[in-house]
């Protein structure tokens, strides 16, 4: 019987090795898979390439992974925040590589990887620093930039509910990068708050079909989403 649950956050990361590309879901704290990031810090893998919208906040999660100097390169749209001091320090030291990608191109490149698209022409970024050195093309009178897919070895995401096939639903704007990252990685691990019997999720409302999910970690006491805020 298929059951994608894993026993622990550490077991969820089996197979992670140095120098891998790892996608981490979330937009700020919404949708950030805190337990899986903590496990990644414990795991010890280094020389990682991380794909996330941001570059860590304050002194937890992704920011700590950066602080531990385990990240060689970060691919993101918005690293600079009031509380991104760990990234800021590494960046100013030249101790981390930054690939800055407009947020929509970041999302579309991740989606392209999951959808088997070899590359695409986007109008976003044309004529800007972020398109320097990239192929451009005029199509029907509009200028576009060629962008490539971003594949990952692992995707670590957070969802609200899962069943044993790995079908997922999300919670409000915490959905953000989860569904597309799930499709773009060789191994996708979802941290969820609720585990449901097979058939309990409405097939019309499943957001990420289980085909995109390899492992499910059930984390009932998720502090980042207070119980009273659940819907």
């Amino acid at each position: 019987m298929i059951d994608k649950r894993v026993a622990s956050a550490d077991a969820a990361l089996a197979g992670v090795t140095d120098a891998m590309t790892i996608m981490i879901g979330g937009f700020g704290n919404a949708g950030m898979p805190g337990d899986l990031i903590d496990a990644l810090i414990r795991h010890g893998a280094r020389d990682l390439t991380i794909v996330n919208n941001n570059a860590g906040n304050a002194d937890s999660g992704l920011a700590l992974l950066l602080k531990e100097r385990r990240v060689r390169k970060i691919i993101c749209s918005f690293p600079r925040q009031v509380d991104s001091w760990h990234f800021d320090k590494l960046y100013k030291e030249g101790a981390i590589e930054l690939e800055l990608v407009p947020q929509g191109n970041l999302a579309e490149r991740i989606r392209a990887a999951g959808a088997g698209i070899g590359g695409f022409f986007t109008p976003t970024g044309y004529g800007t620093q972020l398109a320097e050195g990239k192929e451009t093309r005029e199509i029907d009178g509009r200028q576009y930039v060629f962008e490539r897919p971003i594949h990952a070895d692992f995707a670590l995401i957070k969802a609200l509910r899962a069943d044993r096939w790995g079908n997922l639903t999300y919670r409000k704007t915490a959905r953000n990068f989860g569904p597309i990252m799930a499709s773009a990685a060789r191994c996708t691990v979802a941290q969820v708050q609720h585990f449901e019997p097979l058939g309990a999720l409405d097939p019309e409302a499943v957001v990420t079909p289980g085909i995109f999910v390899n492992r499910v970690l059930v984390v009932r006491s998720d502090v980042s989403t207070p119980a009273q805020a659940e819907a």
Binding site: N29, S77, I110, P123, T124, Q129
Partner: protein
């Protein structure tokens, strides 16, 4: 001369939205616009982190960490709202489905080039977020900004000296001194602060301006 206040600028922007418009309000000054949408008009707000039908800030104590806007501030969802993932959200933007976006700016050029994401200062950490996607995506790209820098220089320029966000994307500029359309024939002033003459405005602005046909005569 009486400059437009920030609230007056926001109200002027909001008055442009027709009933049923889909609008994205950028971080900073543009968020003020939400407070000035006429009560008799239904305007649907988009936030690029995956929510259409965004409502006002929640009451204190009612914040939900999973209902935030692109600035990561707590917001609410109205009846009729929908959630979607990032690729779908930016497809809405890039695909031209938003009627308006309202953005802040460092500079706007006479050709409608926008610079609003990066000062380009040595050592500054760049961060772009969704600015470039909004700038190329919405059917009407509105800019809200002070007319002049703190040093008194025009933020409307012949050519942007800051790094570009997008080329030729701005349709209308709302400043504390004027409302200016970007047209194929250049910049056209459609409104002007009380007590400021067209000539005075022109003197403060780094680019040649034209008068709209319906521009109210102002005190000299």
């Amino acid at each position: 001369m009486s400059k437009f206040s920030r609230d007056e600028m926001a109200a002027r922007v909001a008055s442009d939205f027709p009933e049923g418009a889909y609008v994205n309000l950028g971080i900073g000054l543009p968020t003020l616009v939400a407070n000035h949408i006429p009560r008799d008009r239904e305007i649907i707000l988009h936030t690029e982190n995956g929510l259409l039908g965004m409502g006002p800030a929640p009451k204190p104590g009612q914040e939900d960490p999973d209902v935030i806007n692109a600035g990561k501030q707590p917001v609410t969802a109205l009846p009729g709202a929908s959630y979607f993932h990032h690729a779908d959200s930016f497809a809405m933007m890039r695909g031209g489905h938003l009627d308006f976006c309202v953005l802040g700016a460092f500079q706007v050029s006479a050709a409608g080039d926008l610079a609003n994401w990066h000062t380009g200062a040595p050592g500054a950490i760049p961060a772009v977020g969704g600015a470039m996607d909004l700038a190329i995506g919405a059917r009407n790209v509105y800019v809200m900004m002070e007319h002049l820098t703190k040093a008194g220089e025009s933020k409307i320029v012949p050519k942007c000296t800051y790094p570009l966000t997008a080329v030729g994307c701005v349709s209308r500029i709302f400043t504390d001194l004027a409302v200016i359309d970007v047209t194929p024939r250049g910049l056209v002033v459609v409104d002007i602060a009380d007590g400021l003459s067209f000539d005075e405005l022109q003197q403060l602005t780094g680019v040649p301006l034209a008068r709209a046909a319906n521009l109210a005569p102002t005190t000299p």
